[in-house]
């Protein structure tokens, strides 16, 4: 019986190997199954999903206005201190002193993309940007100031 087992073992082995060969052989003769993308060339077609978390950005409208009131909730909610807010006081139109942001500093190199700042922002001043090519030669370039120079608070946002 050992002899029968020996011979059937050989044939079973060969058949199992042949099955594997058929799988790889199928893909070899079907170039249509290739899934890789040619990255720098396909930049134009490459579109990220709407929800994609690229980086934290602060949208400005055409009058260079943003919605950030400088309340500091995002700074408080950030688990690893990626956000720093430097505030200043400005005199509003009706003559009152008000707190406003001078610089909204965002350390992209420390960000873990946990979304807590965006979720907790009461005035929805922060949104996700779609940019994903963050590679730079110098780490200091990853520290970004989100509000544009000379920008002011949007009207009607408290």
């Amino acid at each position: 019986m050992n002899v029968i087992k020996y011979i059937s073992g050989i044939f079973k082995g060969i058949i199992s190997l042949w099955k594997g060969l058929m799988v790889t052989g199928y893909y070899f003769v079907h170039p249509g199954e290739i899934v890789t993308q040619q990255y720098p060339e396909n930049r134009k077609e490459l579109k990220m999903f709407d929800a994609f978390k690229g980086e934290v950005t602060m949208p400005h409208n055409e009058n260079n206005e943003h919605k950030c009131t400088g309340c500091g909730i995002c700074e408080m909610n950030c688990p690893n201190g990626s956000i720093e807010i430097i505030s200043k006081s400005v005199i509003s139109e009706d003559g009152k002193k008000k707190r406003a942001i001078d610089q909204h500093i965002y350390h992209l190199d420390m960000c873990t993309f946990c979304e807590l700042c965006i979720k907790s922002c009461p005035s929805k001043a922060l949104v996700w940007g779609q940019e994903f090519e963050h590679a730079v030669y110098d780490r200091s370039k990853l520290t970004k100031i989100l509000n544009k120079p000379g920008s002011t608070l949007m009207k009607g946002v408290e």
Partner: protein
Amino acid sequence: MTEEILTTPLEQQEYTINMGPQHPSTHGVLRYVVSLKGEIVHKVEPHLGYIHRGIEKMCEKLTYPQIIHLTDRLDYLTAHINNHAVCLAVEGALQVEVPERVVYIRTIMDELNRIASHQLWWCAYGMDLGGLTCFFYGLRDREKILDIFEESCGSRLLHSYYTPGGLMKDINPNFQKRTKEFIKYFRKKLPEYDQLLTGNVIFQERTKGVGPLTKEEAISYGVTGPNGRASGFSCDVRKHHPYAAYDKVDFKEAFYTEGDTFHRYKARIDEMWESMKIIEQLVDNIPEGDYSAKMKAVIKLPEGEYFQRVEAAKGDFGIFIISDGNKTPYRVKFRSPNFCNLSCIDLLSKNFKIADLVAISGSLDLVIPDIDR
């Protein structure tokens, strides 16, 4: 130098090899110190801590929603499931009822994550055994799941998608369609895995009977997940302590009694089928509603000890929170499945060859950041 070799008696010449931290088969910065007799493994001693980050200590300084993003980085392949444990612990402590929609979405996401994790394990395991082509097929199929995640959660690996009380944001409208497409696609591709690797005579010879673990040993060593179930240790948290929507679905626990490398492999393949079954049962029935329960702005857990178990892809993932009533926990401990699974490596690989050590440690599906924490 020659004299030194000749004067040392043969018995004392222990051949010690470092496998890792920079080694292709340890999948990360794990280091085995392997003592060899010829090619036979005499003793394996894992050295840990190369990426110990002190996450448990860090958690003591963070609020509960902030802990979530750290649990992503434990077992990075099953970020959703780790998040789930924290969320369930906090919700359980606060007695918050989460909307039904959230429960369903979380369950589907968990199962997708489990499939993705097993796919990555499958391809890495094929690579460990020298079949490099497996790696690309596995990753190719995993991309489809990651696309689903990216569309809804915004990221592919470290999602931070769950939050105490619900989800960060609602799922994408395409989610159900894409998930169903994926299931349809993967039901065709999974048999290909079997043809390429499972049925292969070389693979079977390499894995059958290698590194056996009995049920008693599995329980004693705390080996859970597919590794434990391959040994006959019924340890599926989804069955025994149901959470989320697992009591509403019908699925089998992948179960074997042999406990060798091949059956650990089979248990995972079966789990992928079961996960697909679970998803199919749920994906069409996601109820409408809110994606998050109303939570206070500052979450404070009442004083006490809370333990939450979930079934991660690698095994029984637990989070142990001791709260003193503040907004930050007093102590957090993660019961990471990989840490316990690793502990039996010496037992498993003793008296097997060095090539078997690779097969065994691959079949345990170790993720090093989860071990080191």
